[in-house]
């Protein structure tokens, strides 16, 4: 074990030294700089796909494949998520047993605010996602929480996303070391390989966007949460961000964590932040 940690220390020191020589503009490898990260993130994808307009990245696989794009455009004329969207709208204003509704828990009655989530709650010291906020609203009004991976939560977030369509992602990282830490942990989660297949989120969505994994065309990581929640033909229904995170984990043979665990909240924070400026396109339709 000592030898291994010595090797790790040695390689880390070497990596640090290399970084110092290779990128003199970097202050230190340990400084968290979300602004620089977001800039580099966007540059990576726009360089890789020069023909794709920045705002088109939110369309995932459709931005990567012309034929799929055409089929999707046609389908958007009569989108499969209409039923879920209607259900979400109804649910949002339907009163709880105590007479209040979701409208009372959110600014502007929940209309046009989706692009502000997730946010860092400085009182609690944690990231709050939209799904989490919805369930907290229920619990605050003596209602049982919804499952994070089923239709009810999906319909609610579909409605909220729809009211924000076109608005650019506006995720804030307050000047609080805990917020920076959450952001950094989210970034770390995104790039960490896991599961028996040894994939990280980046393996598919940074290294291989536009390419196929089995029959599916992979979406780029830039803008990947802008279309959430998504109606997937594969699911024959609307699915939440939590559902997507947990199923991605199990698909690479990693045991999924519990929805809305810190790791998931943090990675949602990171991915949303680096896509700041790109428009909300949810709810999305996907294969």
């Amino acid at each position: 074990m000592r030898l291994r940690s010595a090797i790790h220390l040695g390689s880390a020191a070497l990596a640090l030294a290399l970084l110092a020589f290779a990128a003199p503009a970097v202050i230190a490898a340990d400084t968290v700089d979300p602004v620089a990260d977001a800039k580099a993130f966007k540059k990576f994808f726009t360089d890789k796909f020069p023909k794709v307009k920045l705002e088109d990245f939110v369309n995932g696989p459709y931005s990567m494949n012309e034929d799929l794009h055409k089929q999707w455009e046609e389908k958007e004329q009569f989108p499969p998520y209409e039923f879920s969207l209607e259900m979400g709208k109804e649910m949002f204003s339907k009163p709880f047993k105590n007479g209040k509704s979701f409208e009372d828990c959110f600014p502007n009655k929940g209309i046009g605010i989706r692009q502000n989530y997730p946010y860092f709650d400085e009182k609690e010291g944690k990231v709050i996602t939209l799904e989490l906020a919805l369930n907290r609203c229920r619990e605050a009004n003596d209602e049982p929480p919804f499952s994070y991976v089923r239709d009810d939560m999906a319909a609610l977030t579909a409605y909220m996303a729809f009211t924000s369509r076109g608005k650019p992602f506006d995720i804030k990282i307050p000047n609080d070391p805990r917020a920076l830490e959450a952001y950094q942990k989210g970034k770390e989660y995104f790039y960490t390989r896991r599961g028996q297949l040894n994939f990280s989120c980046a393996t598919c969505h940074v290294q291989s966007p536009g390419e196929r994994v089995r029959a599916e065309v992979l979406a780029p990581a830039l803008g990947i949460l802008n279309a959430m929640p998504i109606y997937r033909s594969e699911w024959s229904g609307m699915g939440t961000t939590s559902r997507r995170f947990t199923t991605c984990n199990s698909q690479i043979r990693g045991v999924p964590l519990t929805p809305q665990d810190d790791e998931y909240r943090n990675v949602e924070y990171y991915l949303s932040y680096v896509s700041n400026g790109l428009p909300i396109s949810g709810p999305g339709a996907r294969p």
Binding site: E74, F78, E82, F83
Partner: protein, 103 residues
């Protein structure tokens, strides 16, 4: 109660293009639920689009068609302002129908 059928028909020259989205579980009868019990078959068996009293599109469906099916087709004829009637019958004998004006 709102119809399960949403339909949009557009006349263009000699043809009318029709799109429809139908809300239906389309359970094949082969899928098991979380408890391991078969979800009984529940799917649309017949779908008919009628124009001017005559069928312009008919489908005999089975459990192989997915949930909330989407249909798109075109037929010769059809004038703007005329009615297009859609109706379905499922294996439980339930039906629904809806009419849209051709745009």
């Amino acid at each position: 109660m709102a119809s399960t059928i949403r339909v949009r028909a557009t006349a263009s020259g000699e043809t009318t293009e029709v799109q429809a989205l139908i809300q239906h579980p389309m359970d094949s009868g082969f899928v098991k639920d979380a408890k391991g019990e078969i979800i009984p078959p529940h799917f649309i068996q017949q779908l008919t689009f009628e124009y001017d009293g005559k069928p312009v599109f008919m489908a005999d469906w089975g459990g192989g068609v997915s949930k909330d099916p989407y249909v798109k087709f075109a037929f010769k004829g059809g004038k703007k302002g005329d009615d297009l009637k859609v109706s379905w019958v499922d294996n439980k004998g339930a039906t629904d129908t809806n009419t849209a004006k051709i745009q």
